[in-house]
């Protein structure tokens, strides 16, 4: 069996922008994901970081087959997962699951916890015979650290952290090989966030899971990830091991992003060098030519406007999509 479980090549997802009431005209495209390639290895966690609008959540939706890809390829264990249909797609659903961001909207308020966690078995009855389902649901609740007696409760009777555990139990039910975590802890309080992150770490070891871990919080991503991909306006700008990205970033955007994270230590207040980026992220409908980061980059020159920088290794030993990639340590 190969070491790589998911292989994504040049994945593109454009959303048409339509205007009009009955006869809608396409006036442009939101280039949410615009040529993304990466590998996910068995048992590893690939962190995907980026600011809002960078396309990281759209990437999750395409990987989950919730949105069709515009072009590009993605394989799961060597089989093309973007063209699967019928029973093959059902099998894929059992292997890839998702944990969503908002614990308040990700659980149906009118279903009991037992129904929510048991729904995967109803959809895939071949996984567990009917009589054993209640027991399986109790086991799952126990695994994620909830009281198995609570199967008759409704989501609103739980706190945010507990609801996120319910969502994790639902994702685990079918014993998937890969779990896509779309901002699973960003809606939680600090003390609860740590509990859920520990749970995700423990489950990975216990069940040999691979994670695609999407988040905007760089500290959270570093804590859980083996490798990290940094996204900006639909493209991966830098990818490498957790250490390469955090200790030896070479793309100016990664450097700026890392330097802007507030460090919880007042002693470092005046010593930190924060790279201040000007302005906001440009619209993904009409991204800048050449390098998409050039409008906010302090290194930008003429070439950046004309030539798209490829994601290749220029300095150090990991790829970075910058014409002027250069290592710079910014984390104190």
């Amino acid at each position: 069996m190969s070491d790589t479980i998911i292989e994504v090549r040049d994945l593109v997802k454009h959303f048409p922008v339509r205007v009009g009431v009955l006869f809608k005209r396409v006036v442009g495209h939101v280039r949410a994901v615009d040529g993304v390639s990466f590998d996910l290895k068995r048992g590893e966690t690939l962190g995907v970081v980026g600011e809002s609008g960078c396309g990281k959540s759209t990437l999750a939706q395409v990987l989950m087959r919730l949105e069709p890809a515009t072009s590009g390829s993605a394989t799961f264990e060597g089989r093309n997962m973007l063209t699967m249909k019928g029973s093959e797609l059902r099998k894929l659903r059992r292997d890839i699951q998702i944990v969503l961001q908002d614990p308040y909207t990700s659980l149906n308020p009118r279903m009991t916890v037992g129904d929510i966690v048991g729904e995967p078995f109803e959809i895939h009855p071949e996984v567990a015979p009917k009589g054993s389902r209640a027991q399986k649901v109790r086991e799952l609740l126990d695994v994620v650290g909830l009281n198995p007696e609570h199967i008759n409760r409704y989501p609103h009777q739980f706190s945010g952290g507990q609801r996120q555990r319910i969502g994790i139990a639902r994702a685990l039910a079918l014993r998937p090989k890969v779990i896509v975590c779309d901002e699973p802890v960003s809606a939680l309080d600090v003390s609860i966030q740590a509990q859920v992150m520990n749970l995700l770490g423990d489950l990975q070891t216990e069940f040999g899971l691979s994670y695609v871990f999407i988040a905007h919080d760089l500290s959270v991503v570093r804590h859980l990830s083996d490798r990290v991909a940094v996204m900006y306006l639909g493209k991966i700008v830098e990818v490498g091991t957790e250490e390469e990205i955090y200790e030896h970033p070479t793309h100016p955007y990664t450097q700026a992003l890392l330097s802007a994270v507030p460090v919880p230590d007042p002693e470092l207040r005046d010593q930190r060098q924060v790279i201040r980026l000007e302005g906001d992220v440009p619209s993904p409908v009409d991204p800048p030519s050449g390098c998409r980061f050039r409008t906010r980059c302090w290194k930008a020159r003429d070439i950046c406007a004309t030539e798209v920088p490829e994601l290749v290794t220029r300095v150090g030993n990991h790829p970075s999509a910058c014409h002027f990639a250069e290592e710079k340590s910014v984390v104190p």
Binding site: A32, S106, A134
Partner: protein, 319 residues
Amino acid sequence: MTDPSTAATGAAVTTAAGEFVTAAEHVEAPGKPRSLASDAWHDLRRRPLFIISALLIALVLLMAIWPSLFTSVDPNYGDLARSRQGPSAQAWFGYDNQGYDLYARTIYGSRASIIVGISATLLTVLIGATLGLLAGYYGGWLDGLMSRVADVFFGLPFVLGAIVILSSFRSSGDASATEIIVLVVLSISVLSWPVCMRIMRSAAIAAKQQDYVKAARALGASTPRIMVRHLLPNTIAPVLVYATIALGAFIGAEATLSFLGIGLRAPVVSWGVMISDSRDVIRVAPHILLFPAAFLTATVLAFVMLGDAVREALDPKAR
């Protein structure tokens, strides 16, 4: 439609009182898994509002099915000598303009009114909710088409539309009571479903964007499953509210059509017919209006209360 990572907005404290009481500490017996329906039924049985309204409705239904249980008087036996007499021991509700026994007529009138009210409501909700759910879930051209069709029906004035439908489909003057009832029900439903559809459509659009629908799709849930298990329970509340209000309005609409001479008419008795009969003598004999109107109001109220109780029982947060 870009990526919806709204960062950590959820982490903030809102001032909703509910925020402070989320901890799960309800008394419960461990044991068999329950479902929303069984929980709702369990909850309903303990609501006084539900019990009262259910009893009232049962009584009215009984009247509609076996009117002879309540009275032995013929509702269509008139004696002009006792015209407009007030309530007495022989006739509890008195007599109307034609000298008919009002009590008997009120009892017998429940049948037509209830049939028209309930059937029209059911049909309206069935058409409206189904189309609304489909339009809301699928969106796109289907939604566009259905919404425009709904707009067309919505644009027809109710009374005018009903006159056109009833007068063009009624075969002749000697149409049977059943035929008229069917026509009245159909014309009410055909003219009213767009409201229900719009309510359902917007509720479905809101619900389908929720993450739990996304999670269900990721699990491989089929479209019917998503509609029935996820969308329907979360969209039915506003439709129920509409249905209970519509029921009263439809019984009233039946009266309006009778009044205009295109709805039910003698010898069929209905509350609507009775109310419209009373219009000329309301000043001199208000009791002719009072009794059918009171029954109508009580019935409508019972259905509104029932709808309210059911709606709350279906919302776990309201328990």
